[in-house]
Amino acid sequence: MPNGASATRYSPVAQLLHWVIAALIVTQFALAWTADDLPLGVHKLALLARHKSFGMTVLMLAVVRLLWRWRNPPPELPAGMKPIERRLAKATHVAFYFLLFAMPLTGWMMSSAKNYSVSWFGLFTWPNLISQSDGAFIFLRGTHEVLSDALFAIAVLHILAALKHHFWNKDDVFVRMLPFTKSEKRP
């Protein structure tokens, strides 16, 4: 298998992308929740500036990740999984990939609609996707929030499923995404 991938484990690159994006998403929730409670001020601007920079980072990494996945297909699910479980796992992963793009894109459009252009860590400024519009901003903010709720729910499901695989099924579904481990628990 090329690039360190095997039939039973994710490649180190896929693992790195998974955990970096996961850490960024946790940070994104923390930044957004903190900023939501603040009045418009320097502190809120600073938090949201970081939120936007991290969000655009997620968008770029999502592109890399999808390309990597296309060139390096992930390992098969354990043979013992039921069809309903396979469908649920597939649906969760499709939803994750959809949200990895939809969250940053709706955020980027929100910023454009409010005429607060998105800078990437002050290094460069992304072009506005749409022109300023109060109506579009309100709609996009609502969409961004609903999608973030969906992302939170799916992430909880994803984590519970990983733990269930590890502790209940005792298969390697969790471990094969963990760096510096070996998949030996495969039934």
């Binding site: 418009l40 001020g41 320097v42 502190h43 601007l45 600073a46 949201l48 500036a49 936007k52 409010k114 005429n115 607060y116 252009s117 998105v118 800078s119 990437w120 860590f121 002050g122 290094l123 400024t125 300023q132």
Partner: protein, 189 residues
């Protein structure tokens, strides 16, 4: 020979005497419907543009009469529009423009010089109760009875105390602000 020298001297004196009469600046005012005064700030690393919806500009100018040129511009700071009500409210508030105490900004020129591409005016800007010199670079294009005046300036907001408390920090809001204007001038009534 003497007659020719004398004639030249006379013509010379006549020309000099005629100069001030020829070099009077024409008086204009900006047509509000066709003029705009914009600014560009930098917030969290990204530029944002805004405009002042209400301002008046009295312009005395002629390219051959820089000595008698004069601009007087009054800007209604309440009329700021940065395409976001929350931001406009914050800028009008006590920590930034403090429009309750300083509702207008005022710019008055003192001197003019010709440059390679147009003109530079040196003048004093009074903003937020502070008066400081700010040069502006501009082009002037005269048409029959009307004229077009377009130019730019850049200033540092903190020179004028624009940004108190947390807003003094330049980490998220840059100190430098660019100003640009395009005035459609019509004869002063």
């Amino acid at each position: 020979m003497i007659r020719r020298v004398a004639l030249s001297v006379v013509i010379g004196f006549a020309a000099v005497a005629a100069l001030p009469a020829a070099a009077a600046a024409a008086s204009y005012v900006a047509d509000p419907a066709a003029s705009h005064l914009d600014f560009t700030g930098v917030q969290a690393g990204a530029e944002f543009k805004g405009t002042f919806r209400k301002f008046t500009a009295a312009v005395d100018f002629a390219p051959d009469a820089l000595a008698s040129a004069h601009f007087d511009v009054q800007i209604d700071l309440n009329s700021i529009d940065s395409k976001d009500n929350d931001r406009d409210k914050t800028i009008r508030g006590p920590d930034i423009f403090d429009v309750a105490h300083f509702p207008t900004a005022h710019y008055v020129t003192r001197s003019f010089t010709k440059t390679a591409t147009g003109y530079t005016a040196m003048g004093a800007l009074t903003l937020h109760g502070v008066t400081k010199d700010v040069p502006i670079n501009f082009q002037f294009v005269a048409a029959p009875a009307t004229a077009k005046l377009e130019g730019t300036a850049s200033l540092k907001r903190l020179d004028f105390g624009v940004g108190q408390g947390d807003w003094k920090s330049t980490e998220w809001i840059a100190d430098a602000v660019k100003v640009s204007f395009s005035l459609s001038l019509k004869p002063k009534p």
